[in-house]
Assembly symmetry: D2
Homo-oligomer: 308 residues x 4
Amino acid sequence: MNDATGMFIAETHTSAATWHYRVEKMILEGKTKYQTYQICDVPRFGKSLFLDYNIQTSLLDEYVFHECMSQPAMTLHPNPKNVVVCGGGEGATLREALKHNTVTNATMVDIDEELVDMVKVHMPEWHQGAFEDPRTTLLHTDARQWLVEHKGAGIDVILSDLPNPHEDGPGQFLFTREYFQICADAMGDDGVFAMQAGSANENYPECMMSCIKTLESMKETFPYVAGYYGIVSTFFQPWGFVLASKKYDPLALSAEEIAKRFQERRIRNRYYTPRFHQALFTLPEYLLEAYAKSARILTDESPFVWTA
Amino acid sequence: MNDATGMFIAETHTSAATWHYRVEKMILEGKTKYQTYQICDVPRFGKSLFLDYNIQTSLLDEYVFHECMSQPAMTLHPNPKNVVVCGGGEGATLREALKHNTVTNATMVDIDEELVDMVKVHMPEWHQGAFEDPRTTLLHTDARQWLVEHKGAGIDVILSDLPNPHEDGPGQFLFTREYFQICADAMGDDGVFAMQAGSANENYPECMMSCIKTLESMKETFPYVAGYYGIVSTFFQPWGFVLASKKYDPLALSAEEIAKRFQERRIRNRYYTPRFHQALFTLPEYLLEAYAKSARILTDESPFVWTA
Amino acid sequence: MNDATGMFIAETHTSAATWHYRVEKMILEGKTKYQTYQICDVPRFGKSLFLDYNIQTSLLDEYVFHECMSQPAMTLHPNPKNVVVCGGGEGATLREALKHNTVTNATMVDIDEELVDMVKVHMPEWHQGAFEDPRTTLLHTDARQWLVEHKGAGIDVILSDLPNPHEDGPGQFLFTREYFQICADAMGDDGVFAMQAGSANENYPECMMSCIKTLESMKETFPYVAGYYGIVSTFFQPWGFVLASKKYDPLALSAEEIAKRFQERRIRNRYYTPRFHQALFTLPEYLLEAYAKSARILTDESPFVWTA
Amino acid sequence: MNDATGMFIAETHTSAATWHYRVEKMILEGKTKYQTYQICDVPRFGKSLFLDYNIQTSLLDEYVFHECMSQPAMTLHPNPKNVVVCGGGEGATLREALKHNTVTNATMVDIDEELVDMVKVHMPEWHQGAFEDPRTTLLHTDARQWLVEHKGAGIDVILSDLPNPHEDGPGQFLFTREYFQICADAMGDDGVFAMQAGSANENYPECMMSCIKTLESMKETFPYVAGYYGIVSTFFQPWGFVLASKKYDPLALSAEEIAKRFQERRIRNRYYTPRFHQALFTLPEYLLEAYAKSARILTDESPFVWTA
């Protein structure tokens, strides 16, 4: 058997390239109402999840994505008690939020019940018991609608771990100014919001840049907005996130203060560490160029449509 | 989702090309002592079996391969009672042999018990109950060794449906003059032998041509030797077979006689039909050229090693 | 460098599979008004031509395709003097026609002048000087229109070597009853027509079968219609052709008569030989099944649209 | 034509994945004594160079790689006059070095004369005239041997832009302690050395980490050693570099000082900017973990062998 032989999952990333991930062993495959999934072993990456034939996470570096998704926002808030995870199927974003012992209530709202049920059984390395944590409430409903119904709920931190806004998917309306406002309205006066915002590479940074621009356009709601990225080797690219904050400035948070909070809350991270905080939030110039060139304000009427 | 996205099994065919078969749904995947297997749905081809990441058979045209494997030899013999299938894991070669109501004993010798056990449950479309036929004896042992032990057994027809002679596999010694002699010795004086012999396309016909040459070199044992091929669309190429016969000349069998035997034995085929018999045995010139250029006599000492 | 590394041209064949041909060396690449082309070396296949990223021909077995395209029709006609090749860019169909020393005029009508100009220089192995033959007239215009203008011209043989009827191409109207009638009107009373008709494998034989059915529906024009196929290893499938004849029955042509004509005309073929004639015209059952199931009469109003 | 169709160059990155870059247009292809090359247009990436079927650089972000290769070392040295580029075929590392107006002599030593000759004509976007700069000396000889012969030459900056240490290539001995010592011996007392050191992703960071460890083991020669990385979107991963310095500490260089030097030397960069310096040198934890786990000292006797 030569190197070209075997089983692969192929995904395209713009017209420039298709990546063929090798499937060493298919663990489980299925289809929910919303998406197809494969859990399989990929060499070097280990157990991995694909949704609609796009890799989502692998054991090699799921911590990079999920710490980026949770830790900067959770750490920035001085006392995060009520946390909401939108999406976040694998339960790892929830797991990261629960690491903060300040949390009293963590609500995860993921519409795909079948997927989460599958994850509970087959992906324990990701949730690590987070779904059973007594502080957790797990809901399977539309996250945006749920947030509308929780206007004024005073949530401390919202972590928006939602699928990219694909052309034929509902994700488009979870990356708009209106959605961000709904989040803001459900948070308290010092709420912190973080979202995954798509690729941070130079080939297609438009989604991330537009998320930043959109949140920046809401200055009265979110005086502090900052993009950051994690190096997700499994994605073959850096991945973008945006943090928006009503009261606390992420760039003003010192390594010492982060270390102090980690100690108080007994946090131990592998990617988001005190010394790495500043680097995490330092975007390369090409993102700033892309921001200037192609970012736009996303609205329900004119949302971002992911074509990569 | 675009056309380049999805799950694929890739197999190489010489340095010229790699074929990516699309996997629509993985039905079952596993590993026996001898090989890995995947049963999956391929678009257009339907349910398909891959062994060591090489497609073996699909519902679209498994009948082409399996009729070619069984029907010409079974039909040529005027009264095939005792039949032996060497290999033939899916049970479809056996199924085809059992269609001849002359058969009283059909022994299938396939070393891979785990694979056949899996096939029984998950590939009923192939065996169609053949394993439960009262005439069937199923053995899991080395076919060559078993035949050695059945010297003089007077078998009427031997169908050698064995894996290609890959470099690191045992198949090499199932494509040699010594093996063919062992088969001959286990057969009666009017025994008929048929084998799958590898690709019949112009790119790599050497294995098939060498099988013909080797059997032809045993003139005293097998006065009649004839190559033929089936168009296996699933393999993206015509597939080669060789028939060797102690007493009956396949090229002398008329369409009328075949039709008569079919009627007597209540045979109904989809590929090997009376009118198609002559065309089946008419090899294109390129195979004759390849025979002249590259065929050689295969022996245990100097077997064919499949590198495609 | 491992086996998965290198340069490839990928083409899809229905949703079932994508084939990656390895490009060992790019010889020439370009774009005409009508199509993109690559001439390159593919291992085992040798020098090969791709049009719009679909392999057209390789040195390994171009003779199979081009003999099938020309020889049965040319041989069937007892005295082919005036021959027209529609399409046939590489000049090899023309070359095959010119092998018949009865020919006095051979007109090739290929709309893509840039392609033919390139072929003249870079693909001498195909045309072998056919364009310089004094009997040849080379025209670059629309073949169908040219034939309309040559109604009553009494052409002996028309060889229709035209691209498959792709969705967005003009080929659709070169695979219809109206086009076939135009061909008939330009031919003499004993004219013979042959065409390439698409794949003859079991996965997508609909185009070929519909061409047969359409020509059969013109019984008064073409009393004799017969499908046949060549095993084109480069295409990874058997390829279909259809012959339609006003006066001569291809199935009545004996091997002896073919041999006699070959001798008279000093023909030496590698694929279409006297002994192979009958096998060539013997279609496997699956094509007959496909004919029954999916063939339809193609018209300008409802042409075949190739989607493979 | 669907998305799976087209021309691709495929490269494998460990057993985990194969990447298929789409070739929109082949501009030039050839082979030198040392390697094969393709210059082609890749969608989104623009004009790109592949060597031995591995992408080297594209117009999209060649500046990222080449600034990383040259600018930190050149900027760190307070007065770089004599600069040597080892390898660096495209001329872009040289171009970046020459941006520093302190430079009086820039010697580029690349063994592959045919490749550089080709680059001069066909890749002007990379060298931008650097080969014609009066300060440039271009040599085609073995870089290591040339450096041996220039012991004591007092070179200010050596930029080692050499191919990865592949199994069957000479690169292995250009990533060893002995080579680094040869570099040191050719440099002055305040010399600065920088090298490209392979992937900085989490999947295979061993080469980069071992380069760091090896240079750190030479404390008396190089008191200051620092790894850094650039986000090269074209490589689908962050790329690693190592800087080793005899006298100047890169981590002590302030953004203000960098800005001052840029102004004095009239430098304008797109990736390596004053504000980004600290982030550039801040390695993510996974690299520190990989350093602890798998880094080793590379020597001529036990060099690194790249298998990705």
